[in-house]
Amino acid sequence: MAGEEATRQESVEQRTEAAAPAPPRTTGGTIAGLVVLVALAAVVRLLDQTLPEATEDTAIGGVVSVIEYPVYAILLGLLGNLVLTRLGLRERLSGAFRTEFFIKTGLVLLGASINLATIVSAAGPAIVQAVVLISIVFGFTWWLGGRLGLDDKLRALLSTAVSICGVSAAIAAAGAVQAKREQLAYTASLVIVFALPSIFLLPLLASGLGLEQAVAGAWIGGNIDTTAAVTAAGAIAGEQALQLAAIIKSTQNALLGVVAVALTAYFALVVERKGAAPARSWGRDLWERFPKFVLGFLAASIIATVFLASGGSKDAISAVNDLRTLFLILAFVSIGLEFRVAPVREAGWRPVGVFAAATGVNLVVGLGLAALLFTGFQVEA
């Protein structure tokens, strides 16, 4: 597991290393980064818990009362990013900004607040939505990238990232097609640049369109590329929307291995014409690329459902939810702290155009599928 897993997980490093040689990371730098991260997270928690009451009778009270914690977390992360970059410290401290770790831990804990019956009844439509959406969006992105003359490897990265799960998918695809590091950096940065506004826009659009919570969650989960951004948008849209968004995104994540294995075979047999796919066990390949946190998410739901059914206290589940919120805050602050636009500027307009068009298709098709498959869906208490 170690080699492939480590490669797949190195989202932050590969994004930053592509542009310029980064200063070496040290244990001291990582500890200092952790202090900054926890301090910002504490401010987010404080703002979320006190600001609505403190501004209740003021002119901004109405606006503040509808702002959810992901908004504070991302904005403070971006502010911290700006300050640390100006001070020349960001890369030294970046070992602590582990968005992937925090978001996956938060999602495992989120599993405890979702009744197993909800996951079981959502599984069928979630798989249908994931397969149809991934096929259409992947196919469209691959086709448009070809029309605009993009390199096949970059097409594969963009198509996988926009249709499945953003940075993780791009990293898996980069390993599958042996893409250049700059291509991975472009794609990873594009994912973040597009995901950030989506976090705020999709819940607003869902509310403006009057979507049911389940439909809004399914739309957000099927649409926004990174799992962290999906969770942030879901949290803004509402608890039921968050649960559905997490189920949909976990389903897409689970399909990542299938697409990565298919890409490996396609590039070996068709694009590079090696005559044979690499001599590896496909079953082993699928397992290595399977996101293990999805198993944790399911296990947490089973444990909590059994715990409550056997007379366990709901207060304990509330404490788990608070813990989940803490990890999600750490993840959202990390998103802001990791954000970089330089690789996108270096990419030129064509990959950006392809990604933008694919995002548009994803938005429209995803809305149609979410409305078709999840209208009237009941989230179990």
């Binding site: 190195e10 770790f101 304990a316």
Partner: protein, 36 residues
């Protein structure tokens, strides 16, 4: 590159951390008031 990081992937680490925390809270080892 892989020699710089632990053998345990971030994916597994997050999964184990989440489940261990869940079990500790449900078992009452981590009481609710400890979580800010």
């Amino acid at each position: 590159m892989s020699s710089r990081r632990p053998v345990l992937g971030e994916d597994w680490a997050a999964t184990i951390t989440g489940l261990v925390l869940l079990l500790l809270v449900l078992a009452g080892v981590i009481p609710g008031w400890v979580v800010p």
